[in-house]
Amino acid sequence: MGAPRIGVFICHCGTNIGGIVDVPQVVEYAKSLPYVAYAAANLYTCSEEGISSIKHAIKEYDLNRVVVASCTPRTHQPLFRNACADAGLNPYLFEFVNIREHCSWIHMQNRREATEKAKELVKMGVAKARWLDAQEEFESDVYPAAMVIGGGVAGMSAALNLANQGFEVHLVEKEPELGGRLLKLNRIFTINKDPSELVESIVKAVEGHSKIRLHMPAVVKAASGYIGNFDISVDEGGKEVSFKAGVIIVATGAQVLKPELYRYGELANVLTQLDLEQRLKDGELGEFQNVVMINCVGARIPERPYCSRVCCMTAIKNAALMKEINPEAKVYVLYRDLMTYGVEFEEYYREVKEAGVRFIRYTPSNLPQVIGAERVESVRVYDELMGMELELPCDLLVLATPLIPNDDNEELSRMLKVPISDGGFFLEAHVKLRPVEFAMDGIYVGGSCRWPADIRESIAQGYAAASEAVIPLRQGLVKVEAITATVDPKICKGCGTCALVCPFDAIELKESEIRGLEGKIVSEVNTALCKGCGLCAAACPNGAVQQRGFTDIQLLSMVNALSGKR
């Protein structure tokens, strides 16, 4: 490329900059800087005229670096980079200097100093530009298949959605049948129908789909690689089956807690809500006259502070069902707060109250007590709202317990290198705006394995995860902005600090295969995973690790430009 020939464009931005900063003075100053081959002003650099002037100057003056001093890179950097690219200049040979938001707009009463500051900022930008290198964006192919772990409603929805868009899906389910926790339920709230009927059509669709390869019963044994390129091995009934996938969706669900409270496991007529569902399904419930349900059993306590979201509705649904089966029965629901959020749940709660189910609010500082020797005979509870202690006769005690993470979550998290938290649930990339993605590119999550979710929410999350997963699949490749880290193996000492510091597990220590360095342990960056934060570069003790576009020498040149030292 030869010596740097830098073109500098100072923007007036109408009067926004030009009205405070003496732009012509800055242009003249820029011309005096080292390696500057051309400097000019624009009224609006972002306008068609301004863009043309950049392209024209690049060609006319044989520029191999461009600096624009105007507003903020957060808006127009892509625009100016594209202008360079259009003129045949690598877009990463472009540097942005902010003399509006960071200068003219904040020093409106001080034109002389604002102009001096603008000159210094331009000097810093030019100093960095001199050290810029051409960069190519890293591209990685995406293998056009997905793996979905979990054949419950979330997993099946995700699998069907991807398969219907034409992608091959490997669905891995550890039980011998599809349907997950739904199969264990007797009824689903707001629709009083048998769940197996409802889920039948989805199961049939999954089993019959030409694009879905069902591995069942099967367990994931190993997964390595990165987005676009995962190598998976599953244990399918003793046989090892391997395949490749571009993306992975985790939808392994959760399990229901069996409590050590209220003499569950000791007395015969104490059940969890799930037990109740099974008994009802199998027709083995027997007679009852006095049902007491206790909510928040083993949840919202110091050892497990969360609310499991779905249990209030489960309890209310079953309470209503108890009344339906035996209208003479007395049914009580003992609760702390009633989580019937939204429209339908609140409506249902009202209906169930009208049907005669009684709701009693208790407080955790005064827990209900179970009275009885061989069986539960009654439940003593302090009704907070009435301010009196009640003794409720009881021949059936049903405990609403929370959903808890599956036992194999930890192992899966280690295998896939995805985080878990909040008591063992999978941790998404961002709790608000990225609820179904992991910070690790290419792996997504949905359903109760992330957080307790009911059917509607699990299915929506399954679709949502599919929606994110399909993007790399459809694009066929993954592109990474060229601000990623690099390692010079000649300098690298193999200390591993960079690998330790990387939040994305994008650096690994490996034996070098480079001629002359064979066998040397050095760091290697997986550019597909690198997010361009630069922590590694700052941590490296000898400068072997650098960040493209923010190298040590580029930053130092800006510091020196300001301090006036070499």
Binding site: E120, N560, K565
Partner: protein
């Protein structure tokens, strides 16, 4: 617009501010958009994460005569790269002690958290730091060596 009357021979510090792209730089942009007026002594360098700034660079900057250096990043817990600012915080802690050890006033280095919505805070931090550094006087460390 009239220029303000200039006080003669007043020391004007040279202060560098490394701002992370996602929070502090955006907060600085917002301060600009909101037209919060500030002293003119701070120069911003954009980095993707405050964790990119190596302590050696800060020492170099101060050793070469800059009067103050700031790092501005996302509030702990809000780092775009999840942990970068925790690293920055740990380094800052050690750096301050090192500066003290080699005879540079540790107050010449400031680490502050500014989110993308905190234009006013950015402005306040700039004013505060400028005042502080001005009060410390010019950085004479190079001459003292």
């Amino acid at each position: 617009m009239q220029d303000t009357k200039e006080v003669q021979t007043e020391f004007k510090p040279k202060i560098l501010a490394f701002c992370c792209n996602w929070c502090a730089y955006a907060g600085a942009d917002l301060a600009g958009v909101s037209r919060f007026q500030m002293p003119t002594d701070v120069r911003v360098i954009r980095v993707m994460c405050s964790g990119r700034v190596p302590p050696e660079l800060i020492i170099r900057a101060l050793a070469n005569g800059l009067d103050g250096v700031m790092i501005l990043g996302c509030h702990p817990g809000e780092c775009h790269y999840s942990e970068g600012n925790y690293l920055t915080r740990r380094r800052a802690h050690v750096l301050k002690r090192l500066l003290s050890y080699i005879g540079i006033e540790p107050e010449r280095f400031q680490l502050r958290w500014v989110s993308a919505a905190e234009g006013a805070k950015f402005s306040a931090v700039v004013k505060e730091t400028t005042d502080k550094i001005t009060a410390l006087g010019p950085n004479r460390w190079v001459d003292k060596r």
